[in-house]
């Protein structure tokens, strides 16, 4: 058998640098999200990159626009029982259940680690109640982090998570509350498991969100037909990976047409081409998630391929590409 064909991941033309750098192509990849400037539009999707420590063996964190950390809660969370993941066709299910060391350890250990690098720090926050969220947000208000991402959409937490993210009134209410305590711009991270994503996005905007990120995972299930039982201990899990990309791009495009806030798009990004689809759909920045598990250097490759595209088509400023496809 021959080498795995990578062509579906990224076309040859963008993987290979088009070579224009010879005559010093001057381009701008900087983007500004809610007043925070990133050196390029690529971050990591929360939960797929830890706090950057492990992946720093593979990736030069100085080169990525921002690092978004694993969700952190006010107290340590143990997460779900194992098995926590299952593979699906072109994707995966996870039911990690937001295991995290709690905000105190996070602030003492993970922020100082990330501060060594010249990259933006986005802290993803989870909670079971509005108070939980506010406690973490308040605890981080004086910390040296750049943005907060509020995960109101994790399908693995029964008490809060999903309920928050699927109801407009609750989204608006929690956004308002969180904003009261926040020392940094607040990104609301939306769940795709809803009838109308634009309503939810508008609620976040109404609540005072500074930016929106989407999509979190779609709720899915896998059954082991030989054992006749669920593969995941939690029965259901969140579907991520290239399988979900068309849904994510659609939602980003819809939300871009519905609110004025900047959008961080994600869901199945494996290559620079995928990232550009989100950007053209209306995202100001993108996050790379599941792809990290498949190619530990995925973030850097995505950045490189975006730059190659810009060179190839002589795009001077990445911002020319944001939302450049017609709105639906």
């Amino acid at each position: 058998m021959r080498k795995r064909s990578k062509y579906s991941y990224c076309s040859e033309s963008l993987r290979k640098d088009s070579g224009l750098e010879r005559y010093e192509w001057n381009m701008n990849t900087k983007v500004n999200i809610a007043g925070i400037e990133w050196k390029n539009p690529v971050t990591t999707a929360s939960g797929t990159f830890g706090s950057g420590l492990e992946y720093s063996e593979f990736v030069d964190l100085n080169q990525i626009g921002a690092v978004t950390t694993k969700g952190v809660s006010s107290i340590p969370w143990t997460g779900n029982s194992t098995p926590r993941i299952a593979e699906t066709y072109g994707g995966m299910l996870n039911a990690v259940g937001l295991q995290n060391p709690g905000v105190d350890v996070f602030v003492k250990r993970d922020i100082p680690f990330l501060k060594q690098y010249d990259t933006r720090i986005i802290v993803n926050i989870c909670g079971k109640t509005t108070k939980d969220y506010c406690d973490v947000v308040e605890g981080l208000a004086d910390c040296d982090v750049d943005m907060l991402e509020i995960n109101i959409s994790c399908p693995n937490v029964k008490e809060g998570g999903i309920a928050f993210g699927q109801n407009c009134c609750q989204v608006e209410a929690i956004t308002k509350e969180v904003k009261k305590y926040a020392g940094q711009p607040v990104i609301m991270k939306l769940s795709p498991n809803v009838t109308d994503i634009t309503e939810i996005a508008k609620a976040a905007e109404a609540g005072g969100a500074d930016a929106i990120s989407l999509i979190n995972t779609l709720t899915g299930m896998k059954i082991d037909i030989h054992k006749r039982k669920f593969v995941l201990a939690n029965k259901t899990g969140g579907l991520s990976g290239p399988a979900i990309k068309p849904i994510a791009v659609r939602m980003v495009n819809q939300v871009a047409g519905a609110v004025k806030l900047p959008i961080i798009g994600m869901g199945g990004i494996m290559t620079g081409e995928d990232a550009l689809e989100f950007i053209m759909a209306g995202a100001t920045a993108v996050a790379v998630g599941t792809a990290n598990f498949i190619k530990p250097t995925a973030t850097m490759e995505v950045i490189q391929e975006i730059e190659n595209y810009m060179k190839k088509y002589k795009i001077e400023d990445i911002r020319e590409l944001i939302g450049c496809v017609d709105r639906v």
């Binding site: 058998m1 579906s8 990159f49 030069d60 143990t78 194992t82 060391p101 709690g102 599941t290 598990f293």
Partner: protein
């Protein structure tokens, strides 16, 4: 700053050992150079429908040739795919990953159960002390002959077709094996039995654990096992098998 990468290794041989167990040697000098017994590799499938890497233990290391041996059972699509590879084909790998076994004591008992047997082979080869080897099977045996060069081998089979009828603990008891350190890899019920046996006899035990993985490097928290004490990294009673393990002291993990 970058230390390990995904590598493209070349398959230098592929042999079928039993109906569903295969032995594959792959060559990647750098990967082999750093490898220790008990560590594992993440193997990537060529099929684009199967995205996640498959963790497989290192069964033997040949640092001179820069090759590694992997012995695996076909249980699903990924391992079936691997079994179709031929000499000269390539495979993408990441590793060596995890911590591996840590040599200690003077009289070792090496215990392997089922597809937990392969990692014990390189350990048997490298351990420079008295050693007894216990291999547990359901029925058909494999690799047992290869262990014989490194120590006396006792076998257990569930159906009694070879060695002691029963499990590895039955074989230990039947053969009155003694030691001051146990190294074990196998299914959870076996590890549970080994842990109980070790505690009962006041013997130290290093157990190699298994769980479904996504990142394989400690970032995603997919592959945890329960720990007795709060883990310093996770700050909860969970340890990451891929990063903190796969080998743990028996008392570290709740099984």
């Amino acid at each position: 700053m970058v230390k390990i990468h995904k590598k493209t290794a070349v398959i230098t041989s592929q042999v079928q050992l039993t109906e569903d167990i295969y032995s594959m040697w792959i060559r990647d000098g750098e990967t082999a150079a750093g490898a220790k017994p008990g560590q594992f590799l993440s193997l990537y499938c060529k099929s684009e429908s199967r995205l996640l890497p498959r963790p497989v233990s290192i069964c033997e290391i040949d640092k001179e040739k820069g090759t590694l041996r992997l012995v695996y059972r076909v249980v699903g699509g990924g391992t079936e795919e691997f079994s179709h590879y031929n000499t000269g084909d390539t495979i993408e790998v990441l590793g060596p990953l995890g911590n591996g076994f840590h040599a200690e004591g003077s009289r070792a008992i090496l215990i392997g159960g089922g597809i937990g047997i392969p990692p014990m082979l390189e350990l048997a080869k490298q351990l420079d002390c008295g050693k007894r080897i216990v291999l547990g099977y359901r029925d058909i045996t494999f690799l047992d002959k290869e262990f014989e060069k490194y120590g006396k081998v006792s076998i257990s089979t569930e159906d009694g077709s070879s060695g002691t009828k029963g499990n590895v603990i039955d074989a230990i008891k039947a053969n009155l094996l003694e030691g001051d350190i146990i190294y074990a890899c196998g299914p959870i019920p076996m590890l549970r039995g080994v842990k109980a046996f070790a505690m009962e006899h006041g013997i130290k035990a290093q157990l190699s654990m298994e769980e479904r993985m996504a990142c394989g490097i400690g970032a995603c928290l997919a592959c945890v096992c329960k720990s007795g004490k709060k883990d310093p990294h996770t700050n909860v009673n969970n340890k990451r098998i891929c990063k903190d393990g796969p080998v743990f002291y028996a008392e570290e993990v709740e099984i």
